[in-house]
Symmetry: C2
Subunit: 372 residues, 2 copies
DNA sequence: TTACTTTACACAATCGATTGTGTCAAATTG
DNA sequence: CAATTTGACACAATCGATTGTGTAAAGTAA
């Protein structure tokens, strides 16, 4: 191996200072440096000061690799998401990164591209990177937890968020979709709607089933019947929402309110209504779901349900850190359910309803279009 | 220290297999295992096979920390972005992660939150994580490269993207905004517009200055005069775009085309025009800039300039890897300039113009609203 | 003053993988 | 057949930080 000389401060500037350098300079042992820096009790205050001063002077940066190797744990958290696009995942990741950093962790990101095989590889990568814990939102093609066994058997803390598999005892953070459907529908009721339609999503997906259930709950509570003719099943796309609306409006007794299971189909519905000369919200009030970015730029702006993306990220990190800290001691898997938030905007505001919750409030942190 | 026993396969499942385990099992030296796995020539094919088989059997995962520590370089790339929100940065990060993974690297993400101090801390973190290279898009409060000296002095490859500081010899990937303004304006001309207005952005920012310049270039090329009365300076917000449009339409000779320096202000302009009873694109054609997500859901959809977010990420990684590979050997900083792409949509399509470029094409990879 | 605790630090092993240098035997060459 | 090359593997140092144990000296209690 090439011998490496270490002249005192830093000749080419290429070599980062190590604890050994500090030790040599101070004429003390490596141990002393290490313990001084980690504020160990067996180091005198005077020595601590000296070490600290010197480390500042040479701008000492601990080598995390070495530290992690020795301790068997790094200060890294692994994230596996289907992809980093759209509104949802970037926001959650944003929340995760922020919370993680606050706790002294860095995050390493992996995309599964909706592919189980890739997801499996991601896990292997994270394992070999010796992360301290893993946060996962499952790919669409994931139907079992098999490949997570490896993680679990290593005793690595694991937390799922948003996309989880039902029926397994795992740590998870999810949104209460049923509550979302409920408050959305209640809001429409509070605006005077009496015939509220629902643009539903594919019912084999829990989130959509739950949103619909919340819708039913609110209707029942208000003493209104469940009218299947007021429910249109869509694929959640804008186009599909428009078609659904056309269908609803063609009926004998058209709705005066629409709760869309997503913002895209709600938008489609709103556009169709206006094309047919209806006023929104006067003739028909509309609520969406997800608080997509575009909901603040349409005319009128769209009332929707915010999914608390950032909070989800933060909650996931909190949960993960808890598991990390209780280090293996028979931690019981816990599920955190986030309460969705109604964001009232123009598409449903027939009159200024006191206590209708926060109005508008842009949710994207930097709506500043000057980014790029 | 607590002594650690290592029974053969894996008792509690908690201990990952190391090369030492394999060596013991095969009765060979650690060296042999290491070299067999890295396909070193001094290991016989028979032995290589045996080692490989055993490593599969025990599902051996190399400890990257150890490897990186020894080699002095990890397989990690650091990313520093202002934040992970909106359309632009997530997409770039997506591109970066994809390209990096393809090259066998993982990415670790940091947000500066538009704060130089945080940016500085991010760099320190990445340095101590021993990343192999760093990708940076500067925070808005960054006005000098001072804190990057530390990185440079360590000989760490560094590539900037999108947000860079002018006049410094650095590796960077940026978008050709001038070209964007040019093709956008040319497109409007090709649609028969003759009085093309421009909703300009703050001119102290290069990107906006360049977009305006491209606009001028196209006008000049078409033999049209630079008419300052056709330029309105906005803060890029939707509201501001609407006001600009109002102003333009109130003038004696209103425009028949508008090139907005951003999608938000273009949207505002379009809405204002329609409010005043004008038809888009028939009476006034409109182009935006950035290919924001909402541009595909408006009525009509908005013609815009795509900033090649993903390509930018990929290009940045390519450049970084180049620098990493030419490892310090006096690499001359290089700038990659990406060509923006015109995305023709409804707001400017007066007649189907042959050769007008790709039509529509949703750019978000998963427009599937079922994410969450 | 003797015995016992602290205080303050050093030694040396260790985490897991990498790599320059040996070593020994088989293969090739003259 | 002796001499040299090549093949196949082991030794041991190393990356940088952590930590159990050891050991002086100083402080305290009896």
């Amino acid at each position: 191996m090439a011998p490496r000389k270490k002249p005192e401060p830093d000749p080419k500037g290429t070599s980062p200072v190590s604890m050994a350098d500090l030790a040599r300079e101070l004429g003390v042992s490596l141990t002393t440096i290490s313990r001084a820096l980690s504020d160990h009790h067996s180091i005198g205050p005077a020595m601590k000061q000296k070490v600290l001063k010197l480390s500042k002077k040479y701008n000492y940066q601990p080598n995390r690799l070495a530290s992690a190797l020795r301790k068997g744990k790094s200060q890294l958290l692994g994230i596996v998401v289907p992809y980093i696009e759209g509104r949802f995942f970037p926001s959650v990741v944003h929340g995760i990164e922020t919370a993680a950093r606050k706790a002294g962790y860095n995050v390493i990101i992996c995309q599964s591209n909706e592919d189980v095989a890739q997801e499996r590889r991601n896990l292997d990568t994270l394992l070999s990177a010796q992360v301290a814990g893993i946060l996962v939102s499952l790919s669409r093609t994931t139907h079992d937890f098999q490949h997570f066994e490896k993680v679990r058997s290593r005793g690595l803390p694991l937390v799922f968020f948003d996309r989880i598999l039902e029926g397994d005892k795992v740590n998870a953070v999810v949104l209460d979709d049923q509550e979302g459907g409920y408050i959305s529908t209640r809001h429409l009721l509070s605006q005077g709607c009496r015939r509220i339609a629902h643009l539903a999503g594919p019912q084999h997906l829990n989130i959509y089933k739950n949103r619909r259930q919340g819708y039913f709950d609110a209707l029942r509570e208000a003493g209104l019947p469940e009218d299947e003719s007021l429910i249109v099943y869509t694929d959640m796309a804008q186009q599909s929402g428009a078609e659904g609306m056309r269908q609803l409006l063609a009926a004998a007794n058209p709705p005066d309110g629409v709760f869309g299971a997503g913002d895209y189909c709600a938008l489609g519905a709103m556009q169709e209504a206006r094309r047919q000369g209806l006023r929104v919200p006067e003739d028909v009030a509309i609520c969406g779901f997800s608080n997509e970015t575009f909901t603040v730029v349409t005319e009128p702006t769209i009332t929707t349900i915010d999914q608390r993306c950032e909070e989800m990220g933060q909650a996931a990190v909190r949960l993960l850190l808890e598991v990390i800290e209780t280090n293996g001691s028979a931690y019981t898997p816990r599920q955190v359910v986030l309460r969705p938030e109604l964001v009232v905007r123009g598409s449903s505001t027939r009159f200024l309803d006191a206590g209708a919750g926060p109005v508008a409030a842009p949710t994207v942190e930097s709506a500043d279009p000057a980014d790029a």
